[in-house]
Structure formats: structure tokens, C-alpha cells
């Protein structure tokens, strides 16, 4: 990734990051949460109030059990958890809010402790309060029973009875309003009772003891309970909640302002981004437009290009065809050129048998008048035979003449000679015929393949054509191997071999040897043309197959021979290799595949 694109990516990420940041800032204020918090606070308020109610109901004995005063705590605990949960984020930010929540929670703990104390105290107190009338009644009844048992009225009993009734009245009054002077009075009475206890019979003493105990409970616990209740009611619960509400509202308002602030920023930022996007869009549109123009031009260019390509292709294919034609012509003309070189020799080759055919036939022709004379003598015979008598002599003479003639012929061996001459002539004609056939083979334009083409025979016919070049200078050693018949066009291959053989003979300056070897392996038929001539210098060896490369004088060679040989062998799917040492000789190897992999199309075009 290039530095530029990396920077762009970073820039894009930062821009998106800012957007997300602003968005979360705007979203951070959850209105739902806000309502839940205010609602929870309200529930706290009402529950605390209800809890106070429950406590007072218990105090006023409106409740027969403490379940009611115990259960609000459970609800309050869950409300506390809810509030802490909802405020948890804000508490971290706002110390006053944390302080107010902590203070409230502390108050609740305090309240709970106080209520627990109250419950325990009140249960005992309430029990004693309920029981005190019965206890006093029991005491009075017992005192009365005891009084009835004694004959004379016991003033102590009467006093006890009265004091007990007063005590009860005072206690009930004290229960209404716990005044200190009343408490003192009750306390005095209780101390008095305690002191007097032993004066009474056990049965009264026990009852009195019970009264003292329960009255003590009332006396002692009443102010404690009142104090507890006052503390409970006086706990700054409501103000704590109010405090939470205020601090929360402050935080919330702050957040609201923050939100508005961030919202403004977000709007501005988003507008900026939009503007940027619009700008980019505008530029994109412009670029697009430019692109469009270029594109159109390109399309036009493309269309013309196609036409031009078609035209060029056509031209090229024409050129190619022409080239192929000219190549075929080139091959043919090279062939004809080499043939031309051969013509003198070939003519001579033809001339020699032609000459002796001529002289032979001449000789035969010279003999012919005598033979004709002989035949004429024979022709006279019938007339001689017809003569009756006189002509015997003539007949005789005639026969003698014929006999002489025949004898002369026999003596001179004319018949044998004629026979020999004619045989010689026939042989000469055969030679000429061979030569002509070879020439025909060699020079023909058609490229028809010859089934069962025998390469050895092909080489022989080349040697016939090249004979004149070779004779008196080159000894040709043929080392033909057993070759499979192959199916190729002989005319072209022969051209290759002729080229190689002629080149070889030209490489030999005075006299030398050309060794022609043929051998076959699994895939190839190999023809090796080897001479012991002057060899090819190393510096030109790589160029010998180049077209128009020649070492001969201008006008002596086309420079196409080997390049065309190379081409032909290539077209036959074969290869031609050269190995040469200066002053030692050159060896060309032509390898032709046995199986046909000839590029027939190329061959046909070449034809």
C-alpha cells in the first residue's frame, strides 16, 4: 500500500471516528434511563414514606404483626440496586451525586437498624402494655381475695390496691405522652413496690413482681421507642432523596447541555462532511465527464482501430500468402538454379550415350546397304527359279553371291557387331532415359508424396544428376543402411541432398571423398553427407543457414541453397545439423522423422 493511500485511509478513519464519537456523545443521554431514574427516585420516596407508615401502624397497633414493617426493606433493597445501577455511570463523573447517593444509602442503613431496634423494643413494650391491665387486675383480684381471707381490713392491702390502680392509670397516661414528671412518679411507685414486695404474701408478691416487671418495661421502653420513632421519622431520607434528585438533575442538565453542545458540533461536523462529500462528488462528476470524453474518443479510435486491424490483417495475410508463394517460387527457382548448374554436366551425361548411340547406329546404317543388297539378291531368286534352263548359272551365281555376302558378314562378324552396336545403343538410350527420369523427378513442381519412398534410391538419382560435377574429382562412397520406406515428396528432399552433395564437391578443391551414409533409428531416417574438403571456418559456421549468405563470388551463388534446404527439412518436421573442421571436412546430417509429421498445409502452400 502506498504511503498516500495509507494516509488517506487514516484520514478517513479519523473522520469516521470523530463522527462516531460525536454520535455517541449525542446518544449518551438516554431519556429512557432518565425517566427510570426519576421514577425510581419517586418510588424511593413513596416507599420510605410507606415504611414510616408501617412503622407507625405497628406502633399504633393497627398492624397485628411485623411482616408489614419488615417487607418494605426487601423492595427498598432492589430499588437501591436499581438506582445505583442506573446512576453508576454518572456517579463516576459527579462527586456530589455520589455523595448524595452514599448519604441516602447510609440513611437507609440507619433507618433499617433503627426499625430493627424498634421492632424488638416495640414487641416487648406492646406486650407489656397489653398485659399490664391484666397484670394489675390479677394483682388487685389477688389482693381482694387475700383481703377477704383476713377479718380486719389491711390498710397496706388497700393502699397497694389504690397505688396499683393509680400506677395503671399513670402508665396508660404515660403511654399517651411520656412526660418526665410522670415517669418520675411511676418510677417512685415501682421502687416503692419493689421495697414493699417482701411485706406481702408470696402470692401477692409474685403478682406484684409481674406488675413491676411489665411496668418497668413500659416505663423504660416508652421513651426509647418514642426516641427511635422520632429518629426514624426525623431521618433525612426525604431530603436525601431530594438531594439526589437535585444533584442528579444538575448532572443531567449538564449532560443535556453537553448533548446540545455536541449536537451542534455534530451538525456542523456533519455539514462539513456533507460539503466535503459534495465537493468530492463534484470533482468526481468532472473527472467522470472528462473520462467520458476520453472514453468516447477511445471508442471512436477503437472502432477505427478495428477497421484498421481488419485491413492490416487482410494486408498481412495477403503479404503472407504472397510471401508463401514467393517462398515456394524461391524454392523452385533455387531448385532450377541448382538444376541449371547441373545442366551442363547433365547435358554431357546425356551427350555421351547419345554420341555412341549415334555412332553405333551410324555403323549399323553403314552395314545396312550390304544387307539391303543381300535382300535384293534374295528378291531375284524367284525370277531365276522361273527361268527354264539357261538361267541356272545366274541362280548359281546368285546363291554364290549370297553365300559370299553371308560369309563375308560372318567373317567380318558384322552380325555380332550390329547386335553389339544395337545393344550398346539401347543401353545408351537407357542411360539417357534414366537421366531424363532423374531430371524429371528432380525438377517437377508437384509435391505429391510418394508412398514407399526409398531414400537410398533418391540419393542415387541425385548422384546421377550430380555425376558430372563429381566425376574425375570426387570419389563417392556410399554406405547405405537399411531404411524404412517413408512417405515424402522426393523432389524437395532430393533438392536438399543435391545441394549438400554439390556443396561438398565444391568444398573439395582437387580430389576428395564424399561419404554418403544413411541410417535409421527409432524415429528418424538420417542422411549424412560428409566430405573431406576445406571445411567451414568457425566464424561463418553459425551463418551458413542464413538466407542470402554466401561465400561464393557475386553471381556464382544465390546464397539461398542452405537456407532453403533448412526450410525444407524443417517443413518435413526434421532437422539439419552441421559439423565442420577447417581443412578436415564438413559433415551435414539430415534427420527426417519416420512418422509423418509434415506440415502438409505449409507444403501445399509451398507447392
Amino acid at each position: 500500500m502506498s504511503l498516500r493511500s495509507l494516509t488517506n485511509l487514516m484520514l478517513g478513519l479519523i473522520m469516521i471516528g470523530i463522527l462516531v464519537f460525536l454520535y455517541t456523545k449525542v446518544q449518551s443521554l438516554n431519556v429512557e434511563d432518565h425517566y427510570q431514574i426519576t421514577d425510581t427516585l419517586r418510588q424511593h420516596s413513596s416507599l420510605n414514606f410507606r415504611w414510616n407508615e408501617d412503622v407507625l401502624k405497628t406502633k399504633l397497633s393497627l398492624s397485628s404483626n411485623y411482616d408489614g414493617v419488615t417487607s418494605p426493606l426487601v423492595t427498598l433493597r432492589s430499588l437501591q440496586t436499581k438506582l445505583t445501577d442506573k446512576l453508576s455511570n454518572l456517579i463516576v463523573e459527579s462527586a456530589p451525586l455520589k455523595a448524595s447517593v452514599d448519604s441516602y444509602n447510609k440513611s437507609i442503613e440507619e433507618k433499617n437498624k433503627l426499625i430493627e431496634q424498634f421492632k424488638g423494643q416495640n414487641a416487648i413494650f406492646d406486650n407489656s402494655l397489653r398485659y399490664i391491665s391484666t397484670a394489675v387486675d390479677d394483682l388487685i383480684t389477688e389482693v381482694e381475695v387475700q383481703s377477704a381471707n383476713t377479718t380486719k381490713s389491711n390498710p397496706a392491702f388497700v393502699a397497694l390496691k389504690n397505688t396499683a390502680q393509680t400506677l395503671l392509670r399513670e402508665l396508660l397516661e404515660y403511654n399517651q405522652v411520656a412526660q418526665t414528671d410522670l415517669a418520675g412518679s411511676i418510677n417512685k411507685r415501682l421502687i416503692a413496690f419493689e421495697n414493699q414486695k417482701i411485706l406481702y404474701p408470696d402470692i401477692i408478691s409474685n403478682k406484684l413482681d409481674t406488675v413491676i416487671r411489665h411496668a418497668s418495661v413500659i416505663l423504660k421502653r416508652k421513651p426509647e421507642i418514642d426516641a427511635l420513632l422520632a429518629t426514624i421519622v426525623g431521618l433525612p431520607i426525604a431530603s436525601s432523596i431530594e438531594n439526589i434528585e437535585n444533584t442528579y438533575t444538575a448532572v443531567y442538565d449538564g449532560r443535556l447541555r453537553d448533548k446540545d453542545f455536541y449536537f451542534t458540533i455534530l451538525i456542523a461536523y456533519a455539514s462539513g462532511l456533507l460539503f466535503l462529500i459534495a465537493l468530492i462528488g463534484y470533482r468526481l462528476r468532472n473527472s467522470y465527464r472528462e473520462l467520458n470524453v476520453v472514453n468516447k474518443q477511445l471508442t471512436v479510435a477503437n472502432e477505427t482501430l478495428e477497421d484498421r486491424v481488419v485491413q492490416r490483417t487482410k494486408e498481412l495475410s495477403n503479404a503472407y500468402n504472397e510471401l508463401k508463394q514467393s517462398q515456394a517460387q524461391l524454392i523452385q527457382s533455387e531448385k532450377m538454379a541448382s538444376l541449371g548448374q547441373m545442366v551442363a554436366g547433365v547435358a554431357h551425361e546425356i551427350n555421351t550415350p547419345l554420341a555412341y548411340c549415334h555412332s553405333n547406329i551410324d555403323l549399323v546404317k553403314e552395314q545396312l546397304p550390304e544387307i539391303i543388297g543381300l535382300f535384293k539378291e534374295f528378291a531375284n531368286f524367284p525370277s531365276l527359279l522361273d527361268a527354264p534352263t539357261a538361267e541356272q548359272q545366274n541362280l548359281k551365281e546368285g546363291i554364290v553371291t549370297i553365300q559370299d555376302a553371308i560369309l563375308t558378314f560372318e567373317r567380318e562378324g558384322s552380325f555380332d557387331e550390329i547386335n553389339l552396336l544395337l545393344e550398346g545403343s539401347l543401353s545408351g538410350l537407357d542411360q539417357i532415359s534414366d537421366m531424363v527420369k532423374s531430371l524429371k523427378d528432380f525438377s517437377r513442381l508437384d509435391q505429391h508424396k510418394v508412398e514407399n519412398f526409398d531414400l537410398n534410391r533418391g540419393l542415387d538419382s541425385v548422384l546421377v544428376i550430380a555425376n558430372n560435377v563429381l566425376k574425375n574429382k570426387v570419389e563417392v562412397i556410399k554406405e547405405y543402411g537399411q531404411l524404412p520406406k517413408i512417405s515424402y515428396s522426393p523432389s524437395q528432399l532430393n533438392q536438399v541432398f543435391l545441394n549438400l552433395i554439390v556443396n561438398a564437391s565444391q568444398a573439395i578443391e582437387n580430389s576428395g571423398i564424399i561419404r554418403l551414409r544413411t541410417l535409421a533409428d527409432h524415429h528418424f531416417v538420417n542422411v549424412i553427407v560428409e566430405d573431406n574438403g576445406k571445411g567451414i571456418p568457425e566464424d561463418i559456421l553459425p551463418r551458413i543457414f542464413d538466407p542470402f549468405f554466401t561465400t561464393k563470388e557475386i553471381g556464382k551463388g544465390t546464397g539461398l541453397g542452405l537456407s532453403i534446404a533448412y526450410k525444407i527439412v524443417q517443413q518435413h518436421g526434421g532437422k539439419i545439423t552441421v559439423h565442420s573442421e577447417v581443412n578436415k571436412g564438413t559433415q551435414f546430417t539430415v534427420s527426417i522423422p519416420i512418422s509423418q509429421r509434415m506440415d502438409l498445409q505449409n507444403l501445399e502452400v509451398a507447392a
Binding site: 407508615e53 397485628s64 404483626n65 419488615t70 406486650n127 409474685n206
Partner: protein, 325 residues
């Protein structure tokens, strides 16, 4: 404004506002003891899983005791011993409170140190003389039980965890509600309890037992001083830490010897009594209560009637709580 004025104002206000409410609530049973209500919102799968765990001895260090070892629900939710035996026969320091109806208690343990059933479980798990284990050990043991792993996976997102174990056990404990004949009586079936038992109840109220043993759980909703009308501990002697009660939790002098008032439901089944297991019979318990809490002499026949009433508080577990057992 003085304390009295505040109190008087508030009282009058409350009276005014509540009088309407009281009339509306007249359908409620106006008794200090309230009938039980069976909970319908329990998750039965949790209840069943909790029951398995409640009975699983792998919760203790040496796999020797389970929750049920001390809280036998067929024995009133206790082991009926003065103090329980923990791992290796270690003796506890306090009488085992019943697990039955424990969900109705305002706090757990005699000293009220646990606010919830879930919190309570941590106690016996870790105590040396109880299960002497810890959650990592327990989790390691239970994780080898594929059945547990699967059940927890099904019920909880995070599978087998200590808080989920506590949750299931607590859910099971919430199912341990014992409806008694007395509840049926309170709900209007007048012949559900015998005449003597009704008399006993009347005495129970009259003697002031209901001052503390009230509400739906007949106790379990307040702390109370043991020895209101006499010094129980001085008389008994040999004061232990456990005797300090809620003081151990609050460190508030006012809480010395204060205990959570125990529920009297199934009380006939849970002898011996009190946090120290000192009262061997119900009669002993009633007698001690009358003396130290009520400061009353209670004739034997009243004791007898109250005991008969207390026996009517023994209840039956609902089917869902018993499970396959």
C-alpha cells in the same frame, strides 16, 4: 418541634390517611399469624436441580455431608441434634435452624448475618466445622458430572457457576413451604384444628407469644433479646460467642444476645430448641420462653394447650418440593 409533637402530628396524619385503607383491607385475616401462601412463580427445573445439589455430598470437603445431612426435610428441616456434625465429625457451635419455610425469614442464621438464602449458602460451605470447602473445589468436582454440566448449561447462559449453584439451591429452598392444619384454620376451615389447639392459640396470643412469633412465618421477621424479663445467659452460664447473637454482626451493644426470632412452623419436629439447643422438649422451650421473655407464670394446663397449638403448626411439603423422593 419536639419529638412528641412530631410524633403526634405524624400519627394523626397516618390515622387519617390509613383509615380508608384499613377498611379496604378488611378482607385480610386480622390475626397476628398469617396463613402461608404457596409460591407459584418457582422454576421447577431449578427446584429439581437445587434438590439434587442440596442432597449432593460433593459440596463438602471430603464428600461426607450434604446440605440435607443437617437439614433433613423429613425431620422438620433439621438434624434434631443440639449442634450439627460437620466434616470429620466436627461439632458445630449452634443449633441448626430449619430449612423449611426459611425463605420467609427476613434474614438467615440465628444472628441474621445473611440477608438472603443465596448469601446463607456461603456460610456452611466454608465453615471448618461444617462443609469446610470452597467454590473452586466444588466446581471442579461438579464439572466432572456431565449431567450437572448439561442441566446448568440449559438453565444458565454461563453454565455451572457458584452463583448459579446458589440460585438453584435457593430456588429449591423457596419451594420448601409447609402448609399446616393451622393455615387451613386461618383460611376459614374452622374444623381443621381441634378445640384444644384453638384454645392453645388463644393462650398463645394472650400470653404475648405473638409479640414476637407473628406474621406469616410465626417469627422470622425481627431480632429479639433472649432474656427480656430475666438474664437467661447468666442463669444458664458458660457464655459462648454464639450466645452474643446479632451483636456478632452489628457490633452494636444494643444487639447483644439478640437473635432472629425463629419461626414456630414445624416447631414440634425440631427439638432440641433455641440457638444453644438447651431445651430438649417443647415444654422446656415454652417454659423458658414464658419465664425469660414474657415474665409470666404459666400454669401447666396452659403450657399443654399451647404445645398442642404448636403441634398444629407442623405442615406438609408440596409435591413439587418433595420431587421424586
Amino acid at each position: 418541634m419536639t419529638i412528641h409533637q412530631v410524633f403526634a402530628t405524624v400519627c394523626s396524619l397516618i390515622l387519617l390517611t390509613l383509615s380508608g385503607g384499613m377498611i379496604a383491607k378488611s378482607a385480610e385475616i386480622n390475626e397476628p399469624i398469617q396463613p402461608l401462601k404457596l409460591r407459584q412463580d418457582l422454576n421447577l427445573e431449578k427446584v429439581n436441580l437445587g434438590r439434587s445439589l442440596f442432597n449432593d455430598k460433593r459440596l463438602s470437603r471430603d464428600n461426607s455431608i450434604s446440605c440435607a445431612s443437617c437439614h433433613d426435610i423429613n425431620k422438620g428441616g433439621v438434624d434434631q441434634l443440639p449442634v450439627s456434625k460437620g466434616v470429620g465429625g466436627a461439632l458445630g457451635t449452634i443449633n441448626t435452624p430449619t430449612v423449611l419455610n426459611s425463605s420467609l425469614n427476613f434474614r438467615q442464621f440465628w444472628d441474621g448475618r445473611a440477608a438472603s438464602l443465596e448469601e446463607q449458602i456461603d456460610g456452611p460451605i466454608h465453615l471448618k466445622h461444617e462443609m469446610d470447602s470452597d467454590w473452586p473445589t466444588i466446581l471442579t468436582k461438579l464439572q466432572q458430572d456431565q449431567a450437572y454440566a448439561d442441566l446448568f448449561k440449559k438453565l444458565y447462559k454461563n453454565g455451572l457457576q457458584s452463583e448459579n449453584i446458589k440460585d438453584t439451591i435457593s430456588e429449591y429452598e423457596r419451594s420448601l413451604i409447609t402448609l399446616s392444619r393451622f393455615d387451613r384454620y386461618l383460611l376459614g376451615q374452622k374444623d381443621a384444628i381441634k378445640e384444644n389447639e384453638i384454645k392453645g392459640y388463644e393462650l398463645f396470643k394472650r400470653y404475648g407469644c405473638v409479640a414476637c412469633h407473628q406474621g406469616v412465618n410465626i417469627g422470622g421477621n425481627m431480632y429479639q433479646l433472649f432474656g427480656v424479663m430475666g438474664d437467661y445467659f447468666k442463669d444458664r452460664g458458660n457464655i459462648t460467642t454464639a450466645d452474643l447473637g446479632h451483636f456478632n454482626v452489628s457490633k452494636d451493644e444494643r444487639d447483644r444476645h439478640k437473635f432472629k426470632v425463629p419461626s414456630l412452623r414445624n416447631v414440634a419436629l425440631t427439638a432440641p430448641y433455641f440457638h444453644d439447643g438447651s431445651a430438649k422438649t417443647l415444654r422446656d422451650a415454652v417454659r423458658i420462653m414464658a419465664k425469660y421473655q414474657l415474665g409470666r407464670n404459666m400454669p401447666e394446663k396452659d403450657e399443654e394447650l399451647i404445645i398442642q397449638f404448636l403441634q398444629s403448626l407442623s405442615g406438609e411439603l408440596p409435591v413439587q418440593a418433595k420431587g421424586e423422593q
